[in-house]
């Protein structure tokens, strides 16, 4: 535990790119145009990793996450010694085995038996060690019947199984895994995960590059998040993965925010002359637009999180504040403020207004702000559209915004429907299930889902009544 298994100090990897790639492919043209020297100097460089430093203590499982092209695989290749860092220092202590491509180097013509022997030697085993482990390898891969057939007759699953079996039986001190567990059927994947679990118990160091955040969170002691070749965050898996998810959502955030601004602006212009006052309830198809007499005008709509920041992506359990800035040219005493939430199919998920909730209108004068706080979003993943409106009690609209604002729910549990009631499962008798170690976001924001057994109803009621908090000024 004293010395780390992997030490990276300011590691950088720069790939060179050649503009005249195709011309350069042929020696003749290079010689004829005398451009050999020019073509040999790179026109462009691509920095895959930039000043990355980290340590992996012995015996830990270390995850590397990040988007495509963030430098994860480059990192792994550097660690495996396949390529060398352009700058910086990289040390790996002990025997390394890399599960980057399973069965790389199998020769199709010769038997599985001979390939196992050679592959083992390739991965650093001695001939003795290969002989000793041979039976285990074959048994693990479940290949007893086919081991003497040429590898070219194997199915891709068999190929990968045998490759994995050899790599894992090299018994490395440091195991590098790059998203290879997707091969094989369910049972074999299970077996691979068990084997990796056994590695962890035996105090080996594992480096796992993966897109499967669930797996990373479940298995890793520490997670490193790479963003465009740099370390974005490192540390506790849950925290880092959350930060990563928020970041990924942020990408969508900017998109939605742009849409938000655009559609609001565009429709506001197009619908400037008041259109036919449609019933706030679903009249015909759900079409976005804006209409009304503008005696009360909704000048801006903002979606805020519990810290008052404008956001368009939420996870279940968070609170969402819909804030309307309102202006009345002349004092108005007959008014209702309302909000409707629709899902992408145009289905009304929830709608309420101050009249339904029996607020008595007083007066609107000058400017003011109306906020509806949805305290505990219990919506499934998807995009939602908002209606906001100011209208008379008889329904005549002052300013009706239909579907001009969107927000998105992000969830790691892909349940379906329009509403997620607080819930939990319980099993008894002869039923056995493996409880997932991590209940994504259920234990992040909605612990009631697991703890609350009886207040399911109460909670639901509270939800309905509790969001009537509309204030005028």
């Amino acid at each position: 535990m004293t010395t780390p298994a992997v030490v990276a100090r300011d590691v950088a990897k720069v790939y060179r790119r050649f503009m005249h790639r195709n011309q350069f492919k042929t020696l003749k043209s290079a010689l004829l145009t005398g451009s050999v020297i020019r073509d040999l100097t790179p026109d462009q460089t691509f920095t895959a990793l930039d000043g990355v430093s980290f340590e992996v203590p012995k015996g830990t499982t270390f995850g590397v996450i990040g988007e495509n092209g963030s430098g994860k695989s480059t990192m792994l290749k550097l660690l495996a010694g396949i390529t060398k860092p352009t700058r910086g220092d990289l040390r790996v202590d002990g025997r390394v085995s890399a599960l980057i491509e399973l069965g790389a180097g199998f020769h199709p013509e010769i038997s599985g038996r001979e390939n196992v022997a050679i592959n083992g030697i390739m991965l650093g085993l001695s001939r003795r060690e290969v002989q000793e482990r041979f039976a285990d390898i074959v048994a693990f891969a479940e290949m007893e019947r086919f081991i003497d057939a040429p590898v070219k007759t194997y199915s891709s699953g068999m190929y990968a199984r045998l490759g994995f079996a050899v790599a894992i039986h090299v018994d490395p001190d440091v195991l590098l895994i790059d998203e290879v567990l997707a091969v094989g059927d369910e049972a074999f994947t299970r077996k691979c995960l068990d084997k990796i679990g056994e590695f962890r118990r035996r105090g080996k160091t594992i480096l796992l590059v993966t897109h499967s955040l669930g797996l990373a969170e479940k298995m890793c002691d520490e997670v490193l998040w790479l963003r465009q070749g740099k370390i974005a965050d490192e540390g506790d898996p849950k925290r880092v993965i959350d930060a990563y998810l928020t970041y990924v959502a942020g990408g969508e955030e900017t998109l939605l925010a742009r849409e938000h601004g655009l559609s609001a602006g565009a429709s506001a212009e197009e619908a400037a002359p008041a259109r036919a006052p449609g019933d706030p309830a679903l009249a015909g198809g759900y079409r976005e637009g804006r209409w009304g007499s503008r005696e009360i005008e909704i000048t801006s709509v903002r979606l805020l999180d519990d810290r008052g920041h404008e956001r368009h992506v939420y996870v279940p359990g968070e609170s969402l504040t819909i804030s309307l800035a309102v202006t009345a040219r002349a004092p108005v005493d007959d008014f209702v403020f309302g909000v409707g939430v629709f899902n992408a199919d145009g289905v009304a998920v929830y709608g309420t207004n101050t009249h339904i909730e029996e607020f008595k209108p007083g007066l609107v004068e000058g400017t003011g702000e109306v906020a509806l706080v949805l305290e505990d979003l219990r919506l499934v993943e998807g995009t939602y559209l908002l209606d906001v409106a100011a209208h008379r009690r008889d329904g005549t609209p002052y300013d009706y915004h239909r579907g001009l604002y969107t927000f998105r729910m992000k969830s790691r549990i892909k349940d379906v429907g329009v509403y997620r009631p607080p819930h939990h499962w319980s099993f008894s008798g002869g039923i056995s299930l493996t409880v997932p170690e991590v209940r994504p976001e259920l234990d992040l924001h909605e612990t009631e889902g697991e703890i609350g057994q009886t207040d399911g109803n109460g909670d639901g009621d509270g939800n309905e009544n509790g969001n009537g908090g509309v204030s005028t000024s």
Partner: protein, 263 residues
């Protein structure tokens, strides 16, 4: 320094090299009916072809130095085939082994070396047939015991060239196409079909500058003529071979880091 490290690397991976050579030997004739016998049949068929061309189609004036001609030719073509196939195969070996270089921590220099050694094995398998022919003609002399010397020199030379060619081909794919012709030309510029001592003037100079000439002369003397006095030529070739190896090791080392990216 580089050469020393290179040699050490190759030594360290001897087990791997050994098993890969074994695999190549096994895999090459896998699926063919004659199997391993191809290693013996190949040189015989080659011999038959050239015997037909130069014995029947293009009859030559009889040169007593080269009689019996087929036996003389056999002594040269066997080592030449080793040289020839090694270089041609080396040009494609890194590209073919791309998955290894890219996906496994694998010392790339092993691949061209394996190519050369596999062809050496074929050469050594053909040798007993040659010896048998020599015995039939009553030509086998004690000088044949010196054979390991030219073989060693040729091994160093071929490995050096194979390292250079394999690394360069990754960057210049057209080398693969040019190489066939170059090696063909080299064949005619080497004394396989004709007698080295009989050339004069410019041809003689060209032959002297060709390291393969001295190796071929060595083989021919040791096996066909039954004596050996080409020491200086063989030694000079050893120097050239060592230089080629050093250059190969140097070049391969320089290009090593780009291999995984370019293959």
């Amino acid at each position: 320094m580089r050469v020393a490290t290179q040699v050490r690397t190759l030594f360290r991976y001897r087990l791997l090299i050994q098993s890969l050579v074994g695999r190549e030997l096994k895999a090459r004739y896998r699926g063919s009916i004659l199997g391993f016998f191809w290693s013996f049949v190949n040189p015989l068929l080659q011999l038959l072809t050239y015997g037909l061309v130069f014995g029947v189609i293009l009859p030559r004036g009889k040169d007593p130095q080269m009689e019996p001609y087929l036996l003389f030719f056999f002594c040269g073509i066997l080592p030449w085939t080793w040289f020839n196939s090694s270089l041609l195969e080396a040009s494609g070996v890194l590209i073919a082994g791309g998955s290894l270089i890219k996906k496994v921590m694998f010392p790339a220099e092993v691949l061209p070396v394996v190519t050369v050694l596999t062809n050496l094995a074929h050469f050594l398998l053909g040798l007993p047939i040659l010896i048998l022919c020599l015995i039939l003609y009553g030509r086998l002399a004690p000088s044949a015991l010196l054979l390991p010397l030219p073989i060693l020199v040729q091994l160093i030379l071929t490995v050096g060239l194979a390292l250079i060619i394999s690394a360069l081909t990754v960057h210049f794919r057209d080398l693969q196409n040019i190489l066939g012709h170059l090696v063909h030309l080299w064949f005619f510029a080497s004394p396989v079909l004709y007698y080295y001592g009989a050339r004069t003037g410019k041809a003689r100079l060209l032959l002297r500058l060709n390291p393969m000439s001295h190796l071929l002369v060595s083989y021919q003397q040791m096996l066909f003529e039954g004596y050996f006095d080409h020491w200086r030529g063989l030694f000079a070739t050893l120097v050239v071979a060592a230089l080629a190896f050093a250059l190969g090791a140097f070049l391969f080392d320089r290009l090593r880091d780009t291999l995984a990216e370019e293959v």
